[in-house]
Subunit: 143 residues, 2 copies
DNA sequence: ATTGAAAATGAAAGTTAATATCATAACGTG
DNA sequence: CACGTTATGATATTAACTTTCATTTTCAAT
């Protein structure tokens, strides 16, 4: 048996919460699921409006809140004042390195860093729930 | 000969930029220099108003921008939507761990993590200029 | 000390992204 | 199909800055 698709997971969540299925929400979610970048609400709204001009900002906003709630999207702040959303990575948690000239974003995973974070927290008596690691600098094109 | 005090550094900066000395700015800066937490503009304004009720939000805002500009303050975002300022640490860069229940903030330095960050960036072809590492969790009081 | 251009101040207005409100429309259980 | 529940989209509100502007203050040159 196949793993449930993102749309199926969303459907289950809606059902569990007695929420209703709507064409707008489905279309926004489906559009988002195909994105592989870190997209802002405005960018997603623009994309969605191209095929579905009637859709409003508020519905995109609420849909992304919903997807974040049910774990299908992650909200990120890269310091430019806009929240960006990305699909839940299938290969687990990752961190980001951002070019401060062209805004290119690369992702990385470093198990050793994560481990050192946990150790550091323990030393301070904290239990870590989440963390944020962002490197800012110049990418290879912008050096 | 002594190292220049923060106030002296500020004075030099003002002079170099042909800015003028004012009682308000001096008082705000002096108040901030005595703070050893991560303070928001509103909190600093309140503190300043206790001795100097005439001072306005805009002047506090502009003073903190100035102090950040000349390297005497660092602006931080801990994800609660408010910029917080701290005095330039004398013992170099540090990162933060924040309690998501009581908002307690502890600081730490970990040279090994910094080194792994640099390596990771290099592997991706980036030159790192700055970074942000924040751990979120429960402190010893809140576990 | 006086002058006058430059800079600072504080109140108020403007900005921007996020969030809430509300009248109307769509959904879906029975 | 009825009808209570939920969703939508336009619009209003909020919150944290950031800017504007009339007035005041500073300070270098008389
Ligand atoms: Mn990512
Ligand atoms: Mn700190
Ligand atoms: Zn770049
Ligand atoms: Zn705590």
């Amino acid at each position: 048996m196949n793993a449930p698709s993102k749309m199926e997971i969303l459907k289950s969540y809606l059902e569990a919460k007695s929420l209703k299925a709507t064409a707008q929400r489905d279309f926004i979610a489906d559009t988002f699921f195909k994105i592989n970048t870190h997209i802002s609400l405005d960018e997603l709204l623009n994309k969605v409006k191209r095929k579905n001009p009637g859709i409003g900002y508020a519905t995109v906003y609420r849909t992304m809140r919903l997807l974040t709630e049910c774990g299908l999207a992650i909200a990120r702040q890269f310091g430019d004042g806009q929240t960006r959303y990305e699909n839940l990575p299938q290969d687990g948690h990752h961190d980001h390195i951002i070019c401060i000239r062209c805004s290119r974003i690369e992702e990385f995973q470093n198990q050793k860093i994560e481990q050192l974070q946990a150790e550091t927290a323990k030393k301070l008596g904290f239990t870590v729930v989440s963390h944020k690691l962002e490197l800012y600098g110049y990418c290879s094109d912008c050096t």
